[in-house]
Symmetry: C2
Subunit: 110 residues, 2 copies
DNA sequence: TTGTTTAATTGCAATATTACGATAAATAGA
DNA sequence: TCTATTTATCGTAATATTGCAATTAAACAA
């Protein structure tokens, strides 16, 4: 099979796992880190920076764009990408809601 | 190919993406949520709770165990699982370090 | 011991992801 | 127009993930 039966899970659970899936590749982490390290927007320097082939980078960029974490504007023949800060903060809040849980008891029970 | 070229990325980038990969499935999110909702440790009630077959749940539990997010102790014929709180907080810190970045400029640049 | 219960493992099929060569599309400049 | 540059898309191969039936393993009870 191999199909995630998303009907079995809540919208929150599916959303959380989707967010994590986008971040579940070192190349996409590297792209995001580079984009916020370099304030000015970077286009295809990412190909040199990351060290993967251009179609591969383009594919990762598309995934990041699909979830709204980055946005790109065309500048001549090149494309300028940057982080969508609103969406970034939204994602951070969603993740923190999951991560910042208070455990009922202080100690591990097993 | 399909092989993540982890040599190309920093230890931090590989670690971050590994953490996210474990969380990148709704069933594993659901397992974790159930484990901290029910303070007392739950064994194979997870199978009923989640609604996937027992081998599938067992597989997800193994992945969570491998990264140290949960731990299990044998109690008779059943196994009691619970969240490893130290590891959970460690993971939370690693993710927050990545998520809590201050952007250089306040506005999106493209 | 034998049966029962529970969880892990094995084996395999279906699907998803990753990577890249080849190609196409779009734009700028000559 | 033609050409160079840049990025997106297509097609495909390699690998990874997911899910479950069947089986095994382990612990308890009778």
């Amino acid at each position: 099979m191999g199909l995630t039966k998303s009907e079995k899970f809540s919208a929150e659970q599916n959303e959380l796992s989707s967010i994590c899936k986008v971040l579940a590749h070192p190349a996409r982490i590297a792209i995001l880190q580079h984009l916020y390290k370099i304030d000015s927007c970077i286009c295809g320097d990412l190909v040199e920076e990351i060290g993967l082939a251009q179609p591969t980078i383009s594919q990762h960029l598309r995934e990041l764009k699909q979830v709204g974490l980055i946005q790109g504007t065309i500048e001549g023949t090149s494309v300028c990408y940057c982080i969508n800060k609103d969406r970034w903060l939204e994602m951070r809040n969603q993740l923190n809601e999951f991560l910042d849980l208070e455990f009922i008891s202080g100690k591990n029970c097993c």
